[in-house]
């Protein structure tokens, strides 16, 4: 299935990209699995998305938990803890 993946703030800079359309392999059906899939690219991806890194995630513009499922056409975003206000 195809999803849109977005990156913001420090994560966007570390990865050198703000968005991409991605065809997910079978079995990548949760936010955590997508994070793990991206980490598998190695290099900056491995570092920026490492397990110990505090990263917030959103699915279709709502805050999401790692176990939340993703569907074809979803917009999934990864970003650092927010610092507005």
């Amino acid at each position: 299935m195809k999803v849109k993946v977005l990156f913001f703030a420090a994560l966007r800079e570390q990865l050198g990209t703000s968005s991409e359309e991605l065809e997910l392999p079978a079995g990548v059906a949760t936010v955590a699995a997508l994070r793990s899939h991206l980490r598998g690219r190695g290099g900056a991806w491995q570092l920026a998305l490492a397990d110990g890194k505090l990263i917030r995630m959103a699915v279709n513009q709502d805050m999401a938990q790692p176990a939340d499922t993703i569907q074809a056409g979803d917009e999934v975003a990864f970003f650092p803890p927010v610092t507005g206000g």
Binding site: A9, Q61, A77, P80, V82, G84
Partner: protein, 137 residues
């Protein structure tokens, strides 16, 4: 309810007067966040930001009696003494206005997708902000 994410400055007085124009309103509580000491650039997640702010305001309306509410958050390049954010809540009585205003601000700090970057780098999230939001649970 008015929610705006914008680069331009805002007139807090005009926003508060607009909220006070309803005869059901007996109290308006407001908070203004200001850039302190260091220039910064604010990035956000267009679309999600407005959605997250709307949800926070709706949650406040479910907990307190809120007649009107305005949230304005700026993005882009800001310098010391610039206004960053306005939260203003109108209610019949001050208790609801104060509580809802503080609740909205605490949740905005931890749930709305904004990020500050200073010359020294990205601003780190603070645990004290998470604790401030936790106390409303």
């Amino acid at each position: 309810m008015k929610i705006s994410v914008q680069t331009q400055d805002f007139d807090a007085g005009a926003e508060i007067r607009a909220l006070s124009s309803d005869p059901k309103v007996g109290a308006v509580a407001s908070f203004i966040g200001v850039v302190r000491e260091v220039a910064m650039t604010l990035e956000h997640y267009p679309g999600m930001t407005e959605k997250a702010l709307r949800k926070i305001v709706d949650d406040a309306g479910a907990r307190w009696q809120v007649v009107g509410c305005t949230v304005i958050h700026r993005t882009g390049a800001l310098k010391p003494t610039d206004q960053i954010v306005l939260v203003a809540v109108a209610s019949a009585h001050r208790g609801d206005a104060f509580a809802a205003c503080e609740f909205i601000m605490d949740y905005l700090k931890t749930q709305a997708p904004f990020w500050k970057k200073e010359a020294a780098g990205w601003v780190e999230a603070r645990a004290s902000d998470d604790q401030a939001a936790e106390r409303w649970k």
